[in-house]
Symmetry: C3
Subunit: 416 residues, 3 copies
């Protein structure tokens, strides 16, 4: 598909990205310096490994997860890396300024980069809803708003609702899913025949998408345990995530076959339902005391995810005319809701065990969870309205890649 | 290929997998709890890294190793993950019950998951022989029997033959190869034209299979050293595996070209012979005192593996009418035999050095090795006979995936 | 493309590789033994992780980076692994002999394998220039000469120019790029229509090449920090590499679109420019005190790399009739030059801060850098002349793989 931009419009668009990068460098120049304490440096190499696992999930996992549509496989991988690289730089600065609530010089250490990478992942999740409906500059704007909104949400959650680092980060799935859906609601709907074309290709799986799924599956325990410091909690997080993922895999395969009239397995179900266990167990993983509870969560998450893929997708499309390109709602949204509610219940039970007031605990936790969802919807609404402005011209244009190389690629890659 | 099941048969089949998962959760509920000792938790993060390497080998390495046949590439990756997820849960329980020989509550720690993952790998190796000849429910049954047999073998090996954790695990290649071959012997033979079709496609390599090979190649030193605790032995295991793999790579490329009448390199040889060095050095890696011996083992294993690919494959097919889909026999079986024998010789030499009785040592070690092979053949025979029962209906049906997505995939994936 | 060798020539060619392997084993037998000190073993597992990152970069990253040409995708991955396996064995021995300058028995430890793997990477970089122009035996000879030359360069650099391990290793990019270009200059030029055919296919990107790029991108911080021991320097190296890579990613996407008349993104630019930041920051990474400088380096490296891809490539082809298959010159050569010069400036500034003589410091550092380039060009010239000898027969023949499997692969892999 050729671009519908005029030459005169295209140039400035990408110039913005370059200028933004220059501005970022200037801000880094004036406001940042490296951590120099010795204690921090001793901690470094240990953290570096956990950090790399998160990077692998963001770059390879989420990069390749969204490659199953033939139209966007290239864009998906390259734009994913672009948004990650930009989002991390923005988040490092934002987190720094929000933490000190002033414009003093901030100190960068490895955990600030790690937290920023995890926060920037929210953009990579949201983009799955709208991939193929927006152009690069719109993605740039979305990245800027979403990382700001998520950093602000985490900050307010910590200050007002007393959330810890781990919980406020684990609500990322719900935040990103609702953000993405709201943006998609606001975007103009594609023409019916285009939508049909997309629907058709959306059912085609690919081994590359499976590669992305597998990378996410393998390193999910690292993601869920990354921000936990107490060894006992870290251990529980690792184990519970592992068991939940194993069960949601078995559930995905067997239920997908049960759901099909001729008992066949749908690869789209596998891509999504396999990960649902990891999402669901995200927030409460450090509280779950024995494997069976994590396994039940994985089972329920797998069922919800496949139910979503079969009925919710169609339902959303028919009632709200909403098209969720890569099924973010049932991969991240619904299992994330399940995880959030489980977390509130487990925290309340733990509070009862300690003899705390049950009502207050539940109220705070529910407030924090609702606040995250409201922030996701709110900032998504803002983004959606901005992306709808006429200045972006044809918002359906996404194929930024050289047509020649893009269309020639299939022939060349397979060898004739 | 459409499925030959009736609707009425298909549903219950996959229902079994779901019910098995529910039963597993119940057993976990009644019989397991997490380790809570502090010492264990301190060890956790170190073990976690080794553990992840093993997971990468099982999920990515063995998952993609068997993708070179166009008919089963999808099934291979998804079924591999399914069998791994199920096999690990089963093995965790089995190992627990077998270790305490009672039905008391067992304690789960990370090393139990790691050992279970490594044990479950046996199923992923065996399945290479019969992929494309069985359906999902048959694989489910095979997984259950094989992990039980392998856990029992390791248990008896430890109790009766005084084998340590490392050796009993490293015999996994031989066990899995003989198990797989025996099962394949028992399965009904495909019709001649089907066999020919399979033979033809079996020579087609793929970059995804190469990806799997490379992941196995890179992380093999972690696998061979995973269960060794003494630093000196761990170091020797790492180094020897590394050197053996490097030499078997060079051997594979040069001998594959020598073997071809026009001096060309066969990719199937590369896939298999490259890994032979790691398999051969598996059992004796902690005993080998200097690099040259590991290199010689790598060289011999590479030669054996390519010889197997060229002559043994044809020979087995003609004499036993046995078709080894992915060459498990010469990738894992023969180099594993070489490794087992080398291990027996080196242990005897070490025993002589210590002044122990030579005969008794050799007898015990050979007994343990033979016992592993006999258990592989025996449980394979049982599995093969069970899989042959009429209740599985058409055993040639393997394409569980939605026909539409499966057959449309090639077109969609390459972009026209 | 069928091979142009006669049967009688082919056999002996690959026999050489096998014989070389046997000779290597013999040398290992007579001259090597494993490290047995306890201190070394304690350090082992920590080093092992860094070591694995480097292996992943060499095997997966550089292996798949050069897969975008349909003619050589198979050869690229397999030959890459072959050259790595051989190069590491050679370098282990060479480094040992050069370090002790005698033929006494040498002691192998893990850091010797790690340094050898990094040194052998030089061959994998250089080969990008000449892939598709040489055969397997020529690559074998090139591997032998290049690892010898690079080991000698590092040794002289350490003895004469007082370079440390880190700097002498980080000049690898410049060394390998100039070596490769010089070899390509000496090789006979392909016929015009062949060149055109190659030029055409060279613009076709592939998802596998992107996979290679991503692996390199993710693990580059490990490469740049691998040989630094002081925690403060290691930390700076990690951070600076990370920021430089993030900025060169954003620069690559935006400038690639700016450069195109219709504002589209060229995937070849992305493959190369994304990595330029990591190369440029390689040598000076441990000296850069704050993130903005690393980010500026990443920005400039990205610009240089895309400029090189657009103008230098054409310029080299027209003036020197030189074809750089995978753009090694602008991915590794130019950013490496930038990094080398930055390093000299920063070392001089640091020297001034300490009150050392400015002139002497600059002289030594520039001398070391120039010496590395001269060694690269010199050994490249030698290699090029040797590869041009008649005895290699038709040097255009590269397709060593079984024609049948190679040409059938596209059909079989995509499923019809």
């Amino acid at each position: 598909m050729g671009s519908k931009y005029q030459k005169s419009v295209r140039g400035p668009l990408t110039l913005w990205a370059f200028m933004l990068e220059v501005i970022l460098i200037l801000i880094f120049f004036f406001f940042t310096s490296y951590e120099t304490s010795v204690k921090e440096q001793e901690k470094l190499m240990r953290t570096y490994r956990d950090f790399q696992d998160v990077i692998i999930m963001a770059v390879l996992g989420l990069g390749f997860l969204n490659t199953s549509l033939r139209r966007h496989c290239w864009s998906s991988v390259a734009f994913n890396l672009f948004m990650l690289a930009l989002g991390v730089q923005l988040t490092v600065l934002l987190d720094g300024f929000l933490n000190q609530l002033s414009l003093r010089k901030m100190v960068l250490n490895l955990s600030s980069i790690q937290i920023s990478t995890m926060s920037a992942t929210s953009v990579l999740i949201s983009v799955g809803v709208i991939l193929g409906k927006v152009n690069l500059l719109q993605l740039l704007l979305m990245t800027m708003i979403e990382v700001t909104a998520f950093s602000a949400t985490r900050m307010v959650g910590k200050e007002v609702f007393n959330m810890d680092n781990h919980i406020s980060m684990m609500y990322i799935h719900v935040f990103a899913a609702f953000f993405g859906l709201t943006v998609a609601c606001c975007l103009p709907k594609p023409l019916p025949n285009e939508a049909e074309d997309k629907e058709q290709t959306a059912t085609s799986p690919s081994l590359f998408a499976m590669l992305g799924t597998l990378f996410l599956w393998m390193f999910w325990p690292s993601f869920n345990s990354a921000l936990l410091d107490i060894p006992d909690e870290k251990k529980k997080a690792l184990f519970n995530t592992y068991y939940a993922l194993a069960v949601s895999m078995v559930t995905a395969i067997s239920v997908s076959a049960l759901a099909h009239p001729q008992g066949k397995i749908n690869m789209t179900h596998i891509h999504n339902a396999v990960l649902a266990g990891g999402v669901a167990v995200g927030a409460p993983c450090y509280l779950i005391p024995s494997p069976w509870l994590a396994m039940v969560l994985g089972l329920v998450a797998g069922l919800i995810s496949i139910w979503g893929a079969m009925y919710l997708q169609v339902c959303l499309q028919q009632t709200l005319d909403l098209h969720d390109t890569y099924g973010v709602q049932y991969t991240f949204g619904l299992p994330g809701l399940l995880g959030g509610i489980t977390n509130i219940v487990l925290m309340a039970l733990q509070g009862v065990g300690r003899g705390d007031g049950l009502g207050y605990q539940i109220l705070t936790d529910s407030g924090a969870f609702s606040f995250t969802i409201i922030m996701g919807v709110g900032s998504g609404l803002l983004t959606g309205m901005l992306l709808n402005l006429k200045i972006w011209k044809s918002p359906h244009v996404v194929n930024y890649f050289n047509d020649q190389t893009f269309w020639k690629f299939p022939h060349l890659a397979v060898g004739y």
